[in-house]
Amino acid sequence: MKERTVQLEVLRYNPDTDTEAHFQRYEVVCQEEWVVLDALNKIKADIDPTLNYRWSCHMAVCGSCGMMINGEPKLSCHAFLRDYEGVIRVEPLAHFPVERDLVTAPDDFMEKLKRVKPYVIPKEKKPISEGEYKQTPAQLMKFRQYSMCINCMLCYAACPQYGLTPSFIGPAALTLAHRYNQDSRDGGRMARQEVVATHEGVWECTFVGACSEVCPAQVDPASALQQMKITSSLDWIVEHLIPGGRSAGDAASREDAVDKS
């Protein structure tokens, strides 16, 4: 098997001893077909056991190995060494606090995921005895792409708006809201609008489009956000320009009232 010697420049940060991060260079003998994650594993096994990073599946499924590789958000298990020349610079995902070395704190993202109510809120509740909620293949296709997210947060690391305004709900969480809004079984759009149709929601997005370019699962968050801008604008028109039009907020509170009654 062909070998290649690779130089990696890895960002190191130890919260117990450091006040700043610094780069450390490693020279690693790798196999030709290895990915950056393999090189990191080799460093950890043979050169420097103190190096920290996250990974699990090694097959672009779990979403835990996201890093900046030469400044670009990537899954390190999906970044082939043969595609890089010279020293490869490896940094933790941008826009997230660095916990230690390449490990970032995803707390903010997890919090935002919760806020968009990422679950089916049934349009009509029915007893289990009436059977399952059925869906046609066409109804499935309407949201399928947006359900493929692996929560890798690469889109957040790519999004300059999230970097500049951390209160932005951000691409993946808003896309998940869209995924449920598009689901024929769901009736929760108006409740989600309280988070989606706000300055921290879709209106913080200026359509840079970087999220969709870096997404490893072809979710295309930018498209979901633009579609939600259109529906949110239509809501506004209905509320403000059409006599007797219902606002998203009204509708949500009415639904709550119905639920409680």
């Binding site: 940060y13 919260p15 117990d16 450091d18 700043e20 991060a21 400044g71 670009e72 941008a94 826009h95 606090p97 660095v98 916990e99 704190a105 293949p137 066409a138 296709m141 309407k142 300059p160 970097g163 500049l164 200026t206 359509f207 840079v208 489009g209 970087a210 969709s212 370019e213 295309d220 930018a222 498209s223 633009q226 579609q227 801008k229 259109i230």
Partner: protein
């Protein structure tokens, strides 16, 4: 073990030099300045028209100045670039599903280009170009 996460700030003024795609985005945004400036020019023209024939003649003369021609050329390039980026984006903002499949994105963007061409011809016709 204590937690002491390190925050690496996104540089507020120079972030767009970090990646070529950010520069592409900024160039799209900057073209809107020309589009806006051209709208202001149209409003000024209307004002001159309302001010009477002498004012209008003066406005037309100013339009023929070299500075004005350079501005018009730049504004045209910027407006075409701006419009093209948005026409290309329509396929993302307005996907069209028929049955289980989606209409190819370039058909949606293409329809916008076609509508643009037709409308431009109508405007040119109304302006007496042909």
């Amino acid at each position: 073990m204590s937690r002491k996460p390190l925050v690496r700030e996104c540089p507020p003024t120079t972030w767009y030099f970090r990646q070529p795609r950010y520069l592409r985005y900024m160039s799209r945004e900057i073209t809107s300045i020309f589009v806006g400036a051209y709208c202001v020019l149209l409003v000024v023209g209307l004002q001159r028209l309302a001010d009477g024939p002498t004012a209008w003649e003066g406005f037309l003369l100013a339009l023929k100045s070299p500075a004005s021609i350079v501005f018009h050329f730049l504004a045209l390039v910027a407006a075409v670039y701006h419009a093209a980026t948005w026409f290309n984006a329509t396929q993302k903002a307005m996907p069209l599903q028929i049955g289980e499949s989606f209409v190819p994105g370039n058909l949606i963007s293409g329809a916008h280009y076609a509508a643009w061409a037709v409308l431009s011809c109508v405007v040119l016709y109304l302006a007496g170009v042909f």
